[in-house]
């Protein structure tokens, strides 16, 4: 038996997504920039995907630019703006719990003369929108505050953050909504973000496709120069099959996310109840949280517990994959005031639309059993 609790890292595309992609691996292979009947069909497929992705966030298709990954979208947002504002302004604002791809891009830009202010979070992992406002200076050209964390699942007050735009009209507002839009609604008609990153594999599409929403009129320099793809803003032949899958996944998510949210919220609540009974603290806000995220801090070694869970057929993680490989303390946990000693007990389960109540019960029983065993070994 194998139970998958790593949905934050990649979600299994359903059959409908795979079926939509299939023709674009074989007979519909043509380059959309050429002129033929086949390429016309490919162009139509790209446009349909663009429309579905746009509809997922209440944008227009003309504002959707396909890229290869959420990481690329986040890199493009910050580096593209830094180039656009070069010689004019030199300051950005991010939060202390951003994804690695924002956090490291800010560090990279720092080496190239862009100053970064990092807004701290409270013990629940939330940013106070007013503390963002306080960090903005006349030199600020951009801010990047996520809608929700990939690691601890905490949802930021994106509505209030977007409202700051009316006070700082010449600052470009970017949000990483990659983990958010699968189960929650982001309405860009009401929340005036200028740039938004979203990714296919975070909404049950295939990896290898993502998008950056660029509000009309926002000036950004391409990250990749070359051909005319994506209106000349992102060169390189698009991975058509992946984008078609992304579009189909966006269409399914738009139609089903309320139902998915309800199903996952029920599972999450039941898992939290069992976790509470085991006297394990939950990381970050429980109230403002994506419904798939169960991040906890156990009082034993997290890696040891993961191995025992794996022996029971349960795939989970210790949190961010980037840090898991580096064997380093997560900057997100540090931002919440969690000591490196406690951070070693980090365990993350992320459930998905295929997770059943019996899967969740089994995982929690295994957690309880293995935790008891490891606790018994403690001196």
């Amino acid at each position: 038996m194998s139970l998958y609790f790593n949905n934050a890292f990649s979600k299994r595309p359903p059959d409908k997504v795979l079926q939509a992609m299939q023709p674009f691996w074989s007979e519909q292979f043509e380059n959309p920039l050429t002129e033929s009947e086949g390429s016309e069909r490919v162009r139509e497929a790209l446009q349909t995907a663009r429309l579905h992705v746009a509809e997922l966030i209440n944008a227009t298709p003309e504002e959707i630019y396909f890229v290869s990954s959420g990481t690329e979208a986040n890199n493009w947002a910050l580096k593209g703006l830094a180039h656009a504002w070069s010689g004019k302004k030199d300051h950005i604002v991010i939060s202390a719990v951003e994804h690695f791809s924002v956090y490291q891009t800010a560090q990279f830009l720092n080496r190239h003369g862009i100053k970064t202010s990092i807004v701290s979070v409270d013990r629940e992992g939330r940013v106070d929108p007013q503390s963002i406002a306080k960090k903005i200076t006349p030199q600020t050209f951009a801010l990047s505050i996520q809608c929700a964390s990939d690691e601890i699942g905490v949802i930021q007050d994106h509505t209030e953050i977007a409202k700051l735009k009316s006070q700082f009209t010449d600052v470009v507002f970017h949000t990483d909504a990659i983990q958010f839009v699968c189960y929650e609604e982001l309405n860009l008609r009401q929340e005036p973000f200028d740039l938004v990153s979203i990714s296919s594999n975070a909404i049950y599409g295939p990896p290898g496709a993502a998008a950056l929403f660029i509000k009309q009129g926002t000036r950004i320099v391409p990250l990749i120069h070359g051909g005319m793809q994506e209106e000349g803003l992102r060169a390189g032949l698009q991975p058509i099959a992946n984008i078609v899958g992304f579009g189909k996944a966006a269409e399914l998510a738009k139609g089903s996310r309320k139902e998915w949210n309800k199903h996952l919220a029920k599972l999450q609540t039941s898992m939290f109840q069992k976790i509470e009974n085991l006297e394990i603290p939950i990381t970050g806000s429980v109230k403002n949280r994506i419904v798939d995220n169960i991040h906890i801090l156990v009082d034993v070694d997290g890696e040891a517990l993961l191995s025992l869970l794996l022996d029971d057929g349960i795939s989970a993680s210790t949190g961010s994959t980037c840090y898991q490989y580096a064997q380093k303390e997560s900057h997100v946990l540090k931002a919440l005031g969690i000591t490196s000693e406690h951070a070693r007990g980090a365990i993350l389960f992320t459930i998905g639309i295929d997770t059943t109540q019996s899967d969740a019960n089994f995982a929690m029983d295994s957690l309880g059993k293995n935790l008891k065993h490891l606790r018994s070994l403690k001196p």
Partner: protein, 80 residues
């Protein structure tokens, strides 16, 4: 001079390098009416050479080029 030009459409190619602004200009001009003026915004100095050349070969009129620091506004009248 730029205030006297009645612009029918604007194409912002900021950040793009030639020939991309030229290709986009050609596509945009296609959907315009004869006599209408397109304003192309660019920050690529290459446009100073490439746009006049394109206007000559495509048979359209280069009305004016306005330099604004490191940016250029190019005005083109569709003739064909």
């Amino acid at each position: 001079m730029k205030d006297d030009i009645a612009v029918a459409a604007v194409l912002d190619t900021f950040g793009m390098l030639c020939p991309i602004p030229i290709i986009k200009t050609a596509a945009r001009v296609k959907s315009m009416k004869k006599g209408e003026i397109l304003k192309v915004m660019s920050d690529d100095p290459g446009i100073l050479e490439d746009m006049p050349a394109w206007c000559t070969t495509s048979g359209n009129e280069l009305v004016h080029i306005e330099e604004r620091g490191a940016e250029y506004d190019v005005y083109i009248r569709k003739l064909r």
